[in-house]
Amino acid sequence: MKSISVAALLLLSLLAGCAREKRSYQDQSPYVEQAPDKVVQSDLHPGMMPPPSSYEKNVYAESAYDVAEGQKLFEQYHCSGCHFHGGGGIGPPLMDSDWIYGSDPQNIRATILEGRPNGMPSFRGKIADHQVWEIVAYVRSLSGLLPKDVSPGRSDQISLGTTPQQTHPQYEKKEQPGLNREEKPK
């Protein structure tokens, strides 16, 4: 019986593994509409601009590799300049469950592509479409909207003394006596 359950566990987890382990770097995705002059920031609404149909369900959110790429792009494209590592600063925090412009992948994508009032610039034409989706997936992983096995683990940098990015139960840090998160250098 146990062997069956073990086999089932293996099978399930590893069938999921097929998507999880996909390295999609050979995907060639277009830069969304290479026409910066056409961009109008203000009158876009979430959902107004449907993504290409092939990305309806954001295949990149199923691959740990792509989410990790999203994480790196998040740093490399200086998203962390305003949002820090998800904790927020100049821009809103991304780790919590509050979403000003919606938490759907399409909403986040629209935010990245079109920008938002009060400082969020538009990246239309600057980021390859699949990279946008990778960043979307990573942003969603920050607040635990992705399954754990594709969400990135901690990264090799200062962790800001905050929680690991995984959604682990140990997040009751404040209950530990003598612990003060603010003591840590930012």
Binding site: K2, S3, S5, V6, L9, L10, S13, L14, L15, G17, C18, R20, E21, K22, R23, S63, A64, Y65, V67, A68, Q71, K148, D149, V150, P152, G153, R154, S155, D156, Q157, I158, S159, P164, Q165, Q166, H168
Partner: protein
């Protein structure tokens, strides 16, 4: 609890200790009944005899050898010419990682232990290995670990970070997904299995030797397995710790290897090579034991310099732990320490040289019996000496900074590991196959096997020395035409073809000889050690009568004066325990009967290990079935109780 027919029978049919006089046939019947592990599907999961488990171990290890070889062939095809697109870089990285991990963790170490499991109790003249159930458990774990790794590989989750898995590349930031987790967890599986076997072998050699086999009469393969096991015990915890730290970094966000939070990527390398260098000797020392056995048998004289050979093995064991940093010469650590490690790395050439010289001396004065096992050992000499000498080059820091992580090193360690371990192992197979199966392997096919493999090996790996000097780094999935590495690589690929053909001849030889080979008889080679003192294949109780020993070469010096052991029950699995130093009788131990619980425990362990890759809670939940199965494993058994009730507690 499962019950077995013969177990019931034994507890019912308790009668006074069957003593002599009793006809040999009658005694054999009793022994057969007592030691029989049963047949059939359910019994298969309960068997505990060392020949049964040892055979499984050997077969499993060679299956992994073939898989690893297949991966090597894929790599050779990919590298046969520049800018080849046969494998994608992503797949190539998985392939070379799987090749290294398979050969190191799933083949080389287990196969040595496998021969130890099969041969050591026979050579020591006892009826089973110490802790036989642990032995069965270790095999299940080993198989589960290997299967897990290959299932992952097939599902595109094969590790792609190298068999050494250095962070940060293998860390959470640069190896997303579960690939590296499977690698690290495979380590845990094989470590637990290897450690269990090491404890069994040490105990068997120390406590289960035939009467008269004092320490200075242990066959050299016994010494080799003893040193091997001690090295396993001190080295394997290091890699278990290292892979655990890596897993924790990846899964629960610890910072062992994150320099930004006080961790250190070099810590991993230190701990890894503290295991990794002894690992080479863990693989190579048992092979030295095999070489000693074969040389003695086929030059028809005792090995020259037994004490020197034993001391050389011990020295290998000690010095092997003192040179791990020579894998890190390129990291830029302080020079002072480097000199120490250079000296230590050169020093380890001394015990190896002692062994080579003693063997040559043995051959020099022996009467040579040209048979395939010896021919493989001769091949071993040529290849291993060359590999050892390039090892001396690598010990030098300046040279190492040039050739480290190039194909020169690839050539070096294949010369050392294939030459130093695989050739003796093939020799050992030709040597012991008659003992294990009762049939001789074909000498003619053996020669084909040898020459194809020997020529193919040198064609494959000798050019790699030159490739390394010409600047070809390791672990590249391809190279540019203008680099000028094409010719040598093509030759290497052709060589790999020869090696493949050699292996096919070997497999064919095993296939036909197993079915139709000439019968071997007890001692076809006229060898001297105790495994040849019983039938081929050995009965399930190993020896009709426990042998006694009066020299280092017991079968060559046995006389009618040799005493006989009397008084062990033959209706219970009684084993004589002897003293560590002089192997005089000390006490008696009732060895366990077949049990399904090692299997279930291994399943529970597997569930726990695999589960913990995906969810930390698996550690807590998985502990429950594990604790349950282990408790059942050790729970007192009816027949033991019945026996003790019959004869009382013997103090």
């Amino acid at each position: 609890m499962s019950s077995q027919p013969q177990r019931e029978m034994n507890s019912e049919s308790l009668e006074p200790r069957p003593r002599t006089p009793m006809s040999d046939a009658e005694a054999r019947n009793w022994l057969q009944r007592t030691w029989d592990d049963g047949k059939g599907f359910t019994s298969w999961f309960q068997q505990v005899h060392h020949t049964v488990i040892g055979r499984r171990y050997i077969i499993t290890a060679f299956c992994f050898f073939l898989l690893g070889g297949l991966l090597a062939a894929l790599m050779r095809i990919q590298l046969s010419h520049p800018e080849n697109h046969f494998l994608s870089p992503d797949f190539y990285n998985q392939v070379f990682t799987m090749h290294g991990s398979t050969m190191m963790f799933l083949f080389a170490v287990p196969v040595m232990e496998a021969f130890g499991i099969y041969m050591i109790p026979l050579m020591m003249g006892t009826r089973n290995i110490a802790f036989p159930r642990l032995n069965a458990y270790s095999w299940y774990l080993y198989v589960c670990g290997g299967i897990m790794l290959y299932v992952a590989f097939v599902l595109n989750t094969g590790p792609d970070v190298g068999w050494f898995a250095y962070p940060p590349l293998s860390g959470p930031d640069f190896s997303p997904g579960k690939r590296a987790d499977f690698w690290a967890q495979m380590i845990t599986f094989t470590e637990v299995a290897a450690l269990a076997v090491a404890v069994e072998i040490i105990t068997t050699i120390f406590k289960l030797r035939a009467v008269g086999m004092s320490l200075n009469r242990i066959p050299l393969f016994g010494w080799a397995m003893l040193i091997h096991s001690f090295m396993v015990i001190f080295a394997m915890p290091a890699v278990a710790l290292d892979s655990s730290m890596l897993l924790m970094d990846r899964l629960i966000s610890t910072h062992f290897f994150n320099p930004a939070e006080g961790g250190d990527a070099l810590l991993y390398q230190h701990v890894f090579w503290f295991f990794g260098h002894p690992e080479v000797y863990i693989i190579f020392v048992p092979a030295m034991g095999i070489v000693s056995e074969i040389i003695a048998t086929f030059s028809r004289r005792p090995v020259f310099g037994y004490p020197a050979l034993v001391l050389a093995l011990v020295a290998n064991g000690f010095v092997g732990f003192g040179l791990w940093v020579h894998h890190m010469f390129a990291t830029g650590l302080p020079m002072m320490g480097y000199s120490f490690f250079t000296a230590a790395s050169l020093m380890i050439a001394i015990p190896s040289a002692v062994q080579i010289f003693c063997w040559i001396a043995t051959l020099w004065t022996g009467r040579i019996n040209w048979k395939t096992p010896l021919i493989f050992v001769i091949g071993f000499f040529a290849i291993f000496v060359l590999g050892g000498l390039t090892g001396v080059m690598l010990a030098s820091v300046p040279l190492d900074t040039q050739v480290h992580d190039t194909y020169f090193v690839v050539a070096h360690f294949h010369y050392v590991l294939i030459g130093g371990a695989l050739f003796p192992l093939f020799g050992g197979i030709y040597y012991w196959f008659p003992k294990i199966t009762g049939r001789m392997l074909s000498e003619k096919l053996g020669l084909w096997h040898f020459w194809l493999f020997f020529i193919g090996f040198n064609l494959t790996f000798f050019p790699m020395h030159i490739l390394g000097l010409k600047g070809m780094p390791r672990r590249v999935y391809t190279y540019l035409p203008q680099n000028g590495w094409g010719t040598m690589n093509f030759i290497a690929t052709v060589g790999a073809l020869f090696m493949t053909a050699g292996v096919l001849f070997w497999l064919y030889n095993i296939w036909t000889s197993y079915r139709r080979g000439p019968l071997a008889g007890d001692n076809p080679w006229g060898a001297s050690s105790l495994e040849w003192a019983t039938n081929s294949p050995p009965p399930i109780y190993n020896f009709d009568e426990l042998p006694t020993v009066n020299s280092r070469t017991p079968l060559w010096t046995a006389t009618a004066e040799n005493p006989v052991i009397r008084g062990l029950r033959i209706d219970d699995r009684e084993v004589l325990i002897t003293r560590v130093l002089d192997a005089e009788p000390d006490h008696i131990n009732s060895f366990p009967k077949p049990s399904p619980w090692p299997f279930w425990s291994a399943m529970a362990t597997t569930a726990l290990f695999v589960g913990s890759i995906f969810n930390g809670y698996a550690l807590y939940i998985g502990a429950i079935p594990l604790a349950f199965t282990l408790t059942m494993w050790f729970w007192p058994k009816k027949h033991e109780i019945a026996l003790e009730e019959a004869e009382g507690v013997r103090r």
